[in-house]
């Protein structure tokens, strides 16, 4: 079973040379720490920066330079700032190659829910609806089950949707899965996790074909 950093490490392998990448809040943010050397990528933050760098050194933080999680950041050489409308032109116009975001639920048809629990939690969708409706390549980073132990991979989302039929790939603490016409196709198992355990933790349709390799981290 992977921890959050393990999920981020596995997703980092999906990041290719020359990619512009948007990272959501939470586990996706950790992906930046594991991008292999020798690969040139630029991270976009929807509040208006391309070329995000690491957190600033103590004392160097600038209230005017933050990421979408409202954290103080730095920029790398070649970075640029822009307004919100241009930022979403990059996203809607499919100039950003890869979007990595978290989810509360994913359905086996690619639907995703991650912005609202009616009557309980209403924080808003932020840029998530624009991101999932536009990106060609969306990877969801999440735990396989919720805190109550219930599967987050369902046949249909129960929570209000963020987007329909848009998720392509999911990396959880247990597995890597691809969304296909037939449901979640199991691609890889996390170290020490059996196909049986993944089956039990997946409520939506699960396709298991042949031997399922263990993830290489």
């Amino acid at each position: 079973m992977l921890d959050k950093d393990g999920i981020a490490r596995r997703i980092a392998k999906e990041v290719k040379d020359g990619y512009y990448v948007n990272l959501g809040i939470g586990i996706p943010t950790l992906v930046a720490n594991y991008v292999p050397d020798g690969i040139d990528v630029e991270f976009q933050s929807e509040n208006g920066v391309l070329g995000m760098g690491p957190f600033p050194y103590e004392g160097d933080e600038d209230a005017d330079i933050i990421n979408a999680g409202k954290q103080t950041i730095t920029t790398l050489p070649g970075a640029s700032f822009f307004d919100s409308s241009l930022s979403f032109a990059m996203i809607r116009g499919q100039h950003v190659h890869l979007t990595i975001l978290g989810a509360m639920e994913v359905a086996d048809n690619g639907d995703i829910a991650n912005w609202k629990i009616p009557g309980k939690m209403v924080k808003g969708m932020g840029g998530a609806m624009d991101l999932v409706a536009s990106a060609e390549n969306i990877i969801v980073a999440m735990m396989h089950t919720n805190k109550a132990g219930e599967s987050k991979l369902l046949s249909a989302c129960t929570l209000p949707l963020t987007g329909v039929g848009c998720v392509k790939k999911i990396v959880t603490n247990m597995a890597v899965l691809e969304v296909t016409d037939k449901g979640f196709k199991l691609l890889e198992r996390a170290p020490g996790v059996s196909v049986e355990e993944i089956k039990n933790a997946t409520a939506g349709r699960l396709v298991v074909e042949g031997d399922i390799p263990e993830m290489i981290l």
Binding site: P56, G69, F88, W115
Partner: protein, 232 residues
């Protein structure tokens, strides 16, 4: 040069009344018009509709207006940092229209550009699209969204000149440029108000034509929401 300079925040917000609709720039607490928000609190105007990506935190930014119950309706994309907001919303004391962030920006930009409506894929198939026209273009479904209409757009820039030309800094730019000229009156508050001729025309982010009133903000706290650092 058409001079847009006003002497104070009080003069800049002349004409503000109960029930009006305001656009306010900023992302989180970054690039918010702090001085104008303080003045709206002081004026005590109420029943306001506020279009702003976020709703501030409990004791800063738009949270100050929420605390005094001056806001009737918020149009935002993300309001997760404000407990008072969540409480008022769940109790039905505050009307809230949650809008995808890119749609929010484009509804401002459309108003600025004189475009009454546009189609976006964001929110298709979700409750955001309920009651809205949808249409297929090149095999993909889109939702029609209308431009905002507002009485005042209140933005914050780093530098400005007396002609109303604006320059923003870092990610404090965010929604501010898209809101300029998107309402009947645009008020810009700046950290530095320079004489005309000092800003390089090539470096101006928003031309003064989009701004009606400009003033230098007296005080900027620039509060940081999430101070994240690494050790030297």
């Amino acid at each position: 040069m058409i001079n847009k300079r006003v002497a104070s925040v009080t003069e800049a917000l002349q004409g503000v009344r109960d029930g009006m609709t305001f656009m306010l720039g900023g992302f989180g607490l970054c690039g918010i018009p702090e001085n104008s928000i303080a003045e709206l609190v002081r004026l005590g105007v109420k029943d306001l509709t506020c279009i702003s990506n976020n709703a501030g935190v409990d004791d800063f930014g738009l949270g100050l207006l929420l605390h005094k119950r001056q806001i009737r309706k918020m149009i935002s994309s993300y309001v997760g940092e404000n407990e008072e907001f969540e409480r008022q919303m769940l109790n039905g004391e505050l009307e809230v229209e949650l809008t995808p962030q890119g749609t929010l920006a484009e509804k401002c930009r459309a108003a600025q550009a004189g475009i009454p409506a546009f189609f976006t894929p964001a929110g298709y198939g979700t409750e955001v699209a309920e009651g809205k026209e949808t249409r297929e273009f090149n095999g993909k479904m889109y939702v029609m969204e209308e431009a905002f209409r507002a009485d005042y757009a209140i933005v914050k820039a780093w530098k400005g000149d007396e002609a109303g030309n604006l320059v923003f800094k870092g990610t404090a730019r965010n929604f501010n440029p898209c809101m300029c000229g998107a309402a009947a009156i645009t008020v810009a508050e700046v950290e530095e108000l320079v004489p005309v001729g000092e800003l390089e025309p090539d470096q101006v982010h928003i031309p003064g034509i989009f701004v009606q009133r400009i003033f230098r903000g007296e005080h900027y706290e620039k509060r940081i929401e999430q101070r994240t650092v690494r050790k030297r």
